[in-house]
Symmetry: C2
Subunit: 344 residues, 2 copies
């Protein structure tokens, strides 16, 4: 047998300060058997993303609490190889919360956000980035909530991030006239302009956001895709146009009381004056919309209209290293690890 | 002639502290003649409302700045008696910003918010309350933005106020299941329950709003019609349901920097988690929707389905007294002054 055992990473200790590779324990275990209502997945790819840091901390993200000794959580793409679940069958390619392991059992509960991949025009690893929750969030948040119209000005905070980098590009493809991104480093600002096609970039650590917005959004803001909140949201509110749409994204999890206090906003009254709208988007509540997002995104992707760079590592042994690369900001594009050496 | 002169109230001095009757000057003037593009209105009723206090202060409300020596602004209902404006003719009954005077010239500019009254089933004085901007704001904000569905829970802050008292009743007529009001006195809470048919009332000066909301909105909040902002909005955000709608109303004008600082909110991230929406409504931008609001409200009113009590004074001499009554909270219902003794 190629894989007589299921190799997996467990949480060895909760980091008190920074995450390190020694927080994880690499073990072998038998490949589990699915029970009634479950299926077994052979994992092809796993994702490394900053959100994983949260699982290592106190932490219930609405996706179930994770304990020391548990398999490290994380999303992956894999093939169903045995199924006793009525909605899945052997051969299905799916993405979901499989954890850092070669074989995973799932019962497709809500927290797992299992999604069957129907688009075969693009590599399966895209199911962890542009065709995964980040891409779906960007597409559905922008298309359904932001609704940019032809020629409008769209602002994206976290504009080089996992979701934001896609949201800005999607706005352009939906017809927006001017795309402006906000990020926290010169490198990210350069990426937004050179790689993602934004018209202007604001470095919020070095520039006064409100002053700069007046300059780079001379016709005001029609759509704001907000991954930040706080002072950046407050600055954007000063510049919204009549009937503007603000998409509230990414503030879904474990804000501390202190963070919430620091991120208070005062300019929400501008919504009333401008008859504008601030609306939340939460991809976990939109399972039925994912196929539509996937279809449009994979079409654009296969047409070469979406920038999607991948930083790929090989082998499950590399999972902690991959995560460290992400947390240190060293990833060049979406960081994925190929778990199954035969995966396409 | 019954009225050979146009009696009017001018702003004599800007109050530094509380408004008093000595801030106004009563004068006689010739009845003006309309020029091309203008019309002359004989005023039937004038409104006394707290918003007028703002005109006496620093103050540009988006409706044009008012100076000492000017006619005191205020909305009224009247009859067009001469017209050189293509959209108005003698005999039209209209509401608009005519000022505290017996005869007014208007050119129907945006700031005047002139609206022709087509509904004759109800007294014309209702054009200053339930069939005026307050009623239209309540109806359009609730029906178009709040969109309460059958059985839903609706919360209204400022629930006994000019707009809120109507918004709560309208929510019920639109099918909401539970109506809860927030106000700042025991008397207002009693009015909400006994006169306006609310299911529960919260006195924000005496009760912890968030704790009380958990108690009186056991199934959460689906629609929040917010006339307050600040801590009340923050408390409501803690209890919003999935896909809740928050109507931002009434924070359209002259907040000081200090007031804005005090009214910072932190729980807006709940919009993201609950896929909820916070949307502004500004009646001054919805002129084309007013006839629809008027038709529905006058229908309900003529059917006796809307509580609409009026506190009426007689004669233009009474305008300062009427305003003082409102500002002291002594008005029993909407305070109006009949200017034309022959008005129906």
């Amino acid at each position: 047998m190629n894989n007589p055992l299921n190799r997996k990473w467990l949480i060895k200790a909760r980091p008190t300060g920074k995450v390190s590779e020694s927080d994880f324990l690499f073990v072998d275990a038998p490949i589990p058997e699915p029970e009634e209502g479950e299926f077994l997945v052979k994992v092809m790819y796993l994702s490394a993303t900053p959100v994983l840091r949260r699982h290592l901390r106190a932490t219930d993200n609405g996706a179930g609490k994770v304990n020391t000794g548990d398999v490290m959580p994380g999303r992956g793409v894999g093939t169903v190889i045995k199924s006793r679940h009525k909605d899945f069958q052997a051969g299905d390619i799916i993405q979901g919360r499989f954890g850092w392991q070669e074989y995973a059992i799932s019962s497709a509960t809500g927290a797992d956000m299992v999604h069957t991949i129907k688009q075969r025009r693009v590599p399966f690893s895209t199911g962890l980035g542009i065709l995964g929750l980040n891409g779906f969030t960007a597409y559905l948040g922008m298309a359904d909530v932001g609704q940019p119209k032809s020629g409008e000005t769209v602002l994206v905070s976290g504009g080089a991030g996992g979701v934001g980098s896609k949201a800005g590009q999607i706005a352009r493809l939906l017809g927006a006239g001017r795309i402006v991104g906000i990020a926290g480093s010169r490198k990210k600002c350069r990426i937004m302009i050179e790689d993602l096609g934004y018209d202007a970039a604001i470095n919020y650590r070095q520039e006064n956001v409100s002053t700069k917005l007046a300059e780079v959004c001379p016709e005001g803001i029609d759509v704001f895709f907000d991954n930040a909140g706080g002072v950046i949201l407050d600055a954007a509110l000063e510049h919204i146009n009549k009937r503007a749409r603000i998409v509230c994204c990414g503030r879904i999890t474990d804000k501390t009381e202190k963070e919430q206090e620091e991120q208070r906003i005062k300019n929400y009254w501008r919504l009333g004056r401008q008859q504008a709208r601030m609306e939340g988007f939460y991809v976990y509540d939109c399972l039925e919309d994912l196929p539509r997002a996937e279809e449009q995104l994979s079409k654009w992707l296969s047409e070469g209209k979406l920038n999607h760079s991948e930083d790929r590592l090989e082998g499950i042994e590399k999972m902690p290293e991959a995560l460290m690369r992400v947390l240190k900001g060293q990833g060049e594009g979406k960081v994925v690890v190929r778990i199954d050496p035969e995966a396409a």
